[in-house]
C-alpha cells in the first residue's frame, strides 16, 4: 500500500509512450526472404488522468483497437512503454499480468460473442471474483453479483438466465457488470455501442457516464466516429493509419479541428437533420486508407489530404501543441 502522496494526483493513471505494435504477416519475394510486417500502431503517445475519459477515434485499420489491446497486454508490443499507476507494465507476464487484470478491464464491441452462451449470467459475472479469489464464499459472491446487476440496471432474475434470453443492450449491461466486478481503475471500452440499436446506444452511453460518476472510473473509449464520443469524453485522440494525428480537448476538436483528417472525419459524419445536412459541405476526401503493410513515407495522411504540400510527402510531422487545447501532427496547421 502506497501512501497517497500529493503528486499522485498529478501523475496520470496511464501513460503510453511511443507505443508501437507490428504484426508479422508473412514473407514476400520469391524465396520469402523479405519479412512483411503490418504497422498496426506506430509510436503512439498519450496519457489518461484518473477519472478522465479519453475518446480514441479512428476508422478501420487506424490501430485504435490494437492500442486498446496493447494496453491490456493482449497483443505483443514491438516498442514503447506503458506505465499504469506508476508501474511500467510493458513487460509483465504470467501471474503478475494476471494480477494486473484486476485493475483494467475491457468492455467489448460484440455483446453477442463476448458472453459464453453456456454459462448463466451469475456464473459470467462472478467469474472475475472467483478467479481472483476475491469472494470465496458462494453466498456472498452471488450477493455481490446481484448488487452488480442492480447497478447496471438488470432485473434480479437475470442472474439465473442464459445470455441468449437477453437483447443486445441487456447483454452489454452484463458485459459491463462483469467488467465492474473487479472494481477496476481503468475500463477500456472498445466500441461498446456500435453493435447496438440507436435507442439502446443511448442507454448504454448514459449508463457508462453514471458509473463513472459513481465509481470514479477512468475510461479509454474507442469509437469509429466522432458522434458518440462527444457525449462522454474530456479529451479526444484521433488515429489514422497507426499514428496519432490529433489529441485535443473535446470542445477544441468539434469547434476548431486542427488536423485536416479530423476535419474530414467531422464533416463525414451525417447529421440527423435533413435541412442542415443538405447544406453541409464535406471536406472532399478522395482515395482510400493506406495499406498498413507499406505505409507511405512522411505524413501518413498525405495521399488523401486536401492541403498536402511537398514537405508532407517526405517528412513526418511531429505531434505538437497548436494552442487553445489542440495538439496535432500537421506541418501546415
Amino acid at each position: 500500500m502506497r501512501p497517497s502522496l500529493p503528486e499522485a494526483d498529478t501523475e496520470p493513471l496511464l501513460r503510453v509512450e511511443g507505443l508501437t505494435v507490428h504484426f508479422p504477416v508473412g514473407r514476400a519475394g520469391f524465396w520469402g526472404r523479405q519479412k512483411q510486417v503490418l504497422h498496426a500502431v506506430d509510436g503512439v503517445t498519450f496519457d489518461i488522468k484518473r477519472g478522465e475519459t479519453l475518446g480514441l477515434v479512428g476508422e478501420s485499420g487506424s490501430g485504435k483497437s490494437t492500442t486498446g489491446r496493447a494496453i491490456l497486454r493482449k497483443v505483443p508490443i514491438t516498442a514503447g512503454s506503458i506505465v499504469f499507476k506508476g508501474q511500467d507494465i510493458t513487460g509483465v507476464k504470467g501471474e503478475e499480468l494476471r494480477q494486473l487484470r484486476r485493475h483494467m478491464q475491457l468492455v467489448f464491441q460484440d455483446p453477442y460473442g463476448s458472453l459464453n452462451p453456456r454459462m448463466r449470467v451469475l456464473d459470467i459475472v462472478s467469474e472475475p471474483l472467483i478467479v481472483h479469489g476475491l469472494e470465496p464464499n458462494t453466498e456472498a459472491c452471488s450477493e455481490r453479483v446481484l448488487d452488480l446487476l442492480e447497478i447496471v440496471g438488470l432485473p434480479k432474475d437475470a442472474a439465473d438466465r442464459y445470455p441468449h434470453s437477453f437483447s443486445g443492450g441487456q447483454r452489454q449491461r452484463v458485459v459491463i457488470a462483469r467488467a465492474l466486478a473487479l472494481r477496476p481503475d481503468l475500463i477500456i471500452a472498445d466500441e461498446p455501442v456500435s453493435a447496438l440499436d440507436v435507442s439502446i446506444q443511448a442507454q448504454i452511453v448514459n449508463l457508462l457516464a453514471d458509473l463513472q460518476d459513481e465509481f470514479g472510473l477512468t475510461y479509454l473509449f474507442i469509437a469509429h466516429d466522432l458522434s458518440v464520443v462527444r457525449h462522454l469524453s474530456d479529451r479526444i485522440a484521433v488515429m489514422y493509419s497507426g499514428k496519432l494525428v490529433e489529441l485535443s480537448d473535446r470542445d477544441a476538436i468539434y469547434d476548431r479541428p486542427t488536423h485536416p483528417y479530423t476535419e474530414a472525419l467531422l464533416s463525414s459524419v451525417p447529421i440527423p437533420d435533413p435541412v442542415l445536412q443538405r447544406e453541409r459541405r464535406r471536406v472532399p476526401l478522395t482515395g482510400e486508407i493506406p495499406n498498413p503493410i507499406s505505409p507511405p513515407p512522411g505524413c501518413r495522411f498525405h495521399t488523401r489530404c486536401p492541403i498536402v504540400q511537398d514537405r508532407c510527402r517526405s517528412e513526418e510531422p511531429p505531434l505538437e501543441d497548436k494552442g487553445a487545447g489542440s495538439v496535432a501532427a500537421c506541418w501546415f496547421r
Binding site: 469509429h224 440527423p272 437533420d273 443538405r278
Partner: protein, 345 residues
Amino acid sequence: MAAVPDMETPLDVPLLAVDDLQVSFFTRRGVVQAVRGASFTLDRGQTIGLVGESGSGKSVTSRAVMGLIELPGRIVAGDIRWKGKSLLGKDGHAYSDRIRGKEISIIFQDPMTSLNPLMKIGDQIGEVLGHHLGMDRSSADKRAVELLDLVGISFPRQRVKQYPYEFSGGMNQRVAIAMALASEPELLIADEPTTALDVTIQAQILELLQQLQTDLGLAVLLITHDLGVVAGLCQRLAVMYAGRIVETGQAEEIYSDPGHPYAWGLIGSTPRLDVVVPKLVSIAGAPPDLIRPPVGCAYAPRCPLAVELCEQVSPELIEHLPHRKVACHRAFDIRTVGAPVAAGS
C-alpha cells in the same frame, strides 16, 4: 436513361406499391411475424428512406419487394405492385421474373453478396448487360467501362480486368452499384449500403448515390438504421417499428416535428455532432418479441404517452396532416413533451 416513363402505365399509378405486406418466419421457437402489415408507395424518381432498428422488418420488407424471402420466411398476406401489377402469386411469377433484377435492382450492406469473387468485375457487369439488355460482348465491355466511370472508379479501363479482392470495401460497393445500374433500373433498393464502411467512405458512397439519383432520375428505396444517413439523401421517410410502419411523410417534417413517439425517441437518441446534450435521450426497454406481438400498439410498453387504449387497440396508419401518416392514438401529442433534441443547434 432509366427514367423514360413507359407509356403503358398511367402516371397516377405509383411505381411501387406495397400493400399490407405480411411476412412471417416459421422457426422452431414459433412464428416470427417480422412484417405485420406494411404499406407504402413510391413514385418515379422519388427517394424514400425506410428507417428502423434491428428487427423492425425494414430489411425483410425490401427483400420481399426483391423476391428474396427464403425459407423459413414466407409472405403470408398483402401485395406488392410494380406499376400497378402484382409481383406476387401465380400470375405475378412471369411478370416479376421480368422486373426483378432488371427494373428493380438491389445493393446490400456487404458488396460481396452481389459480387462473384472468382470473376473479373468487367465480366460480371457484362453478364448483367448481356442478360438484361441483350448486349453483345464488345458493346458490353465498353458499357462496363462507362459504368465504372459513372460510379467514380478511376482508371476504369484497367479496373474492369481486376477481381473483387483487389478492391477495398468502399470500391467494391461502387462496383456493386455499377452492377445494379447496369440493367438500367427504375428503382434501386439500397439495403444498409454504407453500414459496413468507414465514415469517410460512407460519405463518398452517399454522395455518389445522391448524384446518381438526380442524374438518372432513379427512384431509391434506402433501408437504414441511421437517421443521419437518410437525412441527406431522402425526400420521404417511413419509420418502421416491430414490423409496422408507424410514420410516413416528408423527411424534414418528420425530423423537426415527429408525430409518433417512437420517431421522436429515435431522433432524440441519435447522437449528434453539432449538439452537446448533458444526457442522451434514451428509449427505455427493448422492442417486443415478434413471436407474440402485443395486441395493442407494439410501442406502448416503451411509450411515455401510452394510455389504456394503446395497450388494447393497435392504431391504424392514418393521415393526420397532409401527406403525413401516423399510426398512433396520440399522434402529435408528443409535441407537448418538447423537441426531439435539446434546443440550441
